[in-house]
Symmetry: C2
């Protein structure tokens, strides 16, 4: 974990004493030594992410443990147009994929439910399907043949990558066949001049990033689930993650994809060129479609050079207004080296502390914390920029306290206070999770308004009989992306009624998005209308109808 720095007393003193010439000098001298010390190791490690596994954790979001999705959502009925799996169907797939045991999990002919379970549930065990057959093709051709067969025989399918999603998008609802990407895990090509990586969709994000690290490059996406999530799933959900602020969205970095449509057509759009203006950019439709149009089988992506220097600072702040000020200062002063600006409220940090028992980065508690990361090519320059920034926010009294990672271990530790929130929340009971985007000035107000509403309804408290333990907020401030989390002790229908549609209406009134980066999946199926007009939803249905007229691709989800 991060050690305390000498900076803290100075920071605190400055915050109190204002911006006299003396205090400015102290700040400069203090910040100088710290910025240099912190950056001098030129650390190249960028995440404290832990592998997100299928854990036997308490179920979430107001649902009895391992309840079937079909039970929880009785209004969703199995589509009778879909065939039920027969031994004949399975025989076709077995014949196609071979019978070596690794390519197929066959519940129709007796595979144990335990073998199927990981594919039927999401990692939070909020959603559970009735799938009886998992297929693991290892070539595009196999995907093509399988999909064509399923389309002809009206067999519904769910593509499944690392299964780390948060909205139930990658698990079956009824008896859909799971198409696992796990055997499509080869890195195919890397161009060391252009930084273009070509890989199969089942490559785990962290594996791709480690491969790139060995070449001096970095994957332009990073997120907490990197140890399990896969590139294809990242694209299918248009994952945003921690460094979108710096490297932009996948719509900009992905150069090409290969995908298979339900009728078996292979969309061969695996361009490796940074510029290619030859007609409609169809690959963009698959980025963020959540597997409802086809299966992404290969990816070509532009990767930036791995920064030589990295710094991470962690601040305590007295108000959300100060967080906004700090962000504006960081944008202005750190500019091209700013790679992350994360926000955490005290509630979220208290939960992490409670679960992990780790010593907190700062001695006192504050209503808000910000984690700032810089990534650049020159250690000294980055340290100087950070030092100037530190001075500035200290002198202005914007931050109340702060610490700076001195080595890679501390850097990981500081990141763990941000990245560990999801995991910590998961340990404490059910969680209502909202991943939203709201214009920055109003962003945190949603947490306060929600907390007040839950409290007014008498549902929030410290007693074991209070259904809601805490209403917390954190997220990617650099992208106006808030994660509102309502941590509950146990399922209580009243909580959901207080939260929904309140949260969605609140967001819609401010032209926000009800899903900034997690997608819609099953969880937000009902709520798309809060962020998209009927015209836009109609246009989406047109596209769905065009590519998947029989509706076999990931049915029952948002479209």
């Amino acid at each position: 974990m991060a050690c305390r720095q000498q900076i803290t007393p100075a920071l605190r003193r400055l915050a109190r004493s204002g911006t006299s010439e003396l205090s400015r000098k102290s700040a400069r001298s203090c910040a100088q030594s710290i910025a240099r010390a912190g950056a001098s190791n030129g650390s190249r490690c960028f995440s404290s992410s832990q592998q997100r596994r299928l854990q036997q954790t308490t179920p979430r979001h107001g649902q009895a443990k391992d309840e079937f999705t079909s039970t929880k959502y009785p209004e969703i009925k199995r589509d009778d147009r879909f065939s039920r799996l027969t031994p004949d169907h399975v025989a076709y797939f077995r014949d196609l994929l071979g019978d070596n045991g690794s390519a197929l999990i066959d519940g129709v002919n007796g595979a144990a439910d335990d073998d199927l379970a990981p594919f039927n549930s999401d990692w939070m065990r909020k959603y559970r399907g009735h799938c009886q057959l998992v297929l693991k093709p290892s070539t595009t051709e196999e995907f093509s043949k399988i999909l064509r067969y399923c389309n002809e025989h009206m067999l519904a399918v769910v593509p499944q990558g690392g299964n780390t999603g948060l909205v139930g998008g990658s698990v079956p609802v009824f008896d859909e066949i799971v198409l696992s990407m796990s055997r499509m895990s080869r890195i195919l090509d890397f161009d060391e001049v252009s930084g273009t990586l070509v890989a199969e969709a089942g490559v785990i994000l962290e594996v791709a990033d480690q491969f790139l690290a060995s070449k001096g490059y970095i994957f332009p996406l990073d997120l907490g689930a990197k140890g399990s999530c896969q590139l294809g799933g990242n694209l299918a959900t248009n994952a945003g993650g921690l460094r979108l602020l710096r490297y932009g969205s996948l719509h900009g970095t992905v150069l090409g994809i290969e995908a298979v449509l339900p009728d078996g057509t292979v969309v061969d759009d695996l361009s490796r060129l940074r510029k290619n203006n030859t007609g409609y950019d169809l690959k963009q439709l698959f980025i963020g479609a959540e597997g409802t149009l086809g299966v992404i089988t290969k990816v070509s992506i532009q990767c930036p050079q791995r920064p030589a220097a990295q710094n991470v600072a962690f601040f305590g702040l007295e108000s959300y207004e100060q967080c906004q000020k700090a962000f504006r200062e960081a944008k202005g002063q750190l500019s091209e080296i700013l790679s992350a600006f994360e926000l955490m409220d005290e509630g979220s940090q208290a939960l992490v502390h409670r679960v992990t028992g780790n010593k907190r980065p700062l001695e006192s508690t504050y209503p808000f914390y910000c984690l700032i990361e810089t990534s650049g090519s020159n250690v000294d320059h980055d340290s100087e920029k950070l030092q100037n920034f530190l001075e500035s926010v200290m002198e202005q009294g914007v931050v109340a306290d702060g610490t700076l990672a001195q080595d890679e271990t501390q850097l990981r530790s500081l990141w763990s206070w941000r990245e560990g929130i999801t995991e910590a929340l998961g340990h404490l009971g059910g969680v209502y999770k909202y991943d939203v985007s709201i214009p920055l000035p109003q962003m945190y107000q949603l947490v306060e308004d929600t907390r007040a509403r839950v409290a007014e309804a008498g549902l929030l408290g410290d007693s074991e009989s209070d259904p809601v333990r805490a209403v917390v907020g954190y997220g990617h401030m650099g992208d106006s992306n808030l994660h509102l989390n309502v941590a509950t002790r146990a399922f209580d229908e009243r909580v959901e009624k207080v939260l929904e549609p309140f949260v969605y209406e609140w967001i819609a009134e401010r032209q926000g998005s009800i899903s900034a980066e997690h997608g819609l999946g099953l969880a937000k199926k009902k709520f798309i209308g809060y962020s998209r007009s009927p015209i836009m939803v109609g246009l989406m249905k047109q596209i769905k109808g065009l590519y998947d007229p029989k509706g076999i691709m990931n049915p029952y989800k948002y479209i």
Copy 2:
């Protein structure tokens, strides 16, 4: 124009004397003073672009002056399904838009051909249509009503922005109605915290950038035609330009659009959020569709902060291999501040010199030149990085000679040697222009192979009887984007036969793109198959059929 720097003799000496300790020291000392001098003004000016107007220049690309496109391409026939304009049609539009003279140019009822001419021709006067009616709506609602009427009455239309395209995409072929965006020119909103700009599609790029400059921001796209081209056209053609290397493509920076479909439907996807994962990202289809799906009426785009410091260096190099080495070094050492890496061959620079008569930036001539631009937030840091880079390429003998802009005038002047090529070529006769993307190691080989082929055919020479004056290459090396230009003295059928399909086949064999950033328009209509498979073309036609089933949107073009 740029002044000569003291660096040059030192550079030349170093290039000859190798990398002794002495020469390294000289290089450091010399580069130091120059890098500091060049960067000390912290210039904020980013382009020497000149307004691209409809000029009375010599016609291009093997075509008699002002020849009708329908004459030049006799194989393209007017689609008889389209109605011919009648006074009744015009009366409807006049009633809708008002009769104040600014909203309508009516050749049906007698407007002079001269008034229609600028809308019937592209700026190079390579393409010329027979349009008799120009409409200039000023609201989305007017666009919607016009398109609905046109769709119902089978009237074909061409959306037209700044009309600065290079492939004939924005001018009519037959009697299509021109929908001019010129009255959709309002900047609607700007958020100074997030940097999100919302503007109508007819705003001129330079106007948007100047507005942003006053707010401390920069438009994430810049190109030679910025004085005339419009945001809507930039999006419709997915313009790449000079700083894609730094700010990425419009697929990543555009947050939302409003567009009108042929049936009058308003695609209201004008999100201002950096993250919004609520279904298919349909706006992406309109980016790069060249007006064949609908008319983009409004744009929302993420703008980066305007860099405080900028440097431009101009080098002479002895070979294309050295250019590649310089690029790799620049990527590694200048990293996050590298904002442009442009390549020009001697042929292109000789033409600019001949047309402008300006003193050349370097004393001697070299086979290749590179223009390197850095943009960052800290003048001193950027200068130091550039200085280190200079030392490195000097010590290694990668560059043979160089100069560095010392002030804004010099910076503009150096850029003019890159940005002025198109203009200069235009003054000398017809030009066959190819805007292509090829993997970097092979990129310039296309110019050499083309030159050899033209020479072998006896078409290249200095005599007035030789049809081809020069085969030159230049472009955005940072994006593997080459502009191959074949400058001719006069139309000669043999030239085209020697060039096509040779050039396209050459590119296809290397998995390149036949249009990196200019689009396909009419010019590359026939050649899409060299960069896209029949499956991809088929999928594009599906999309075209979905949005524009009657085919009224920009017909006769690539789809």
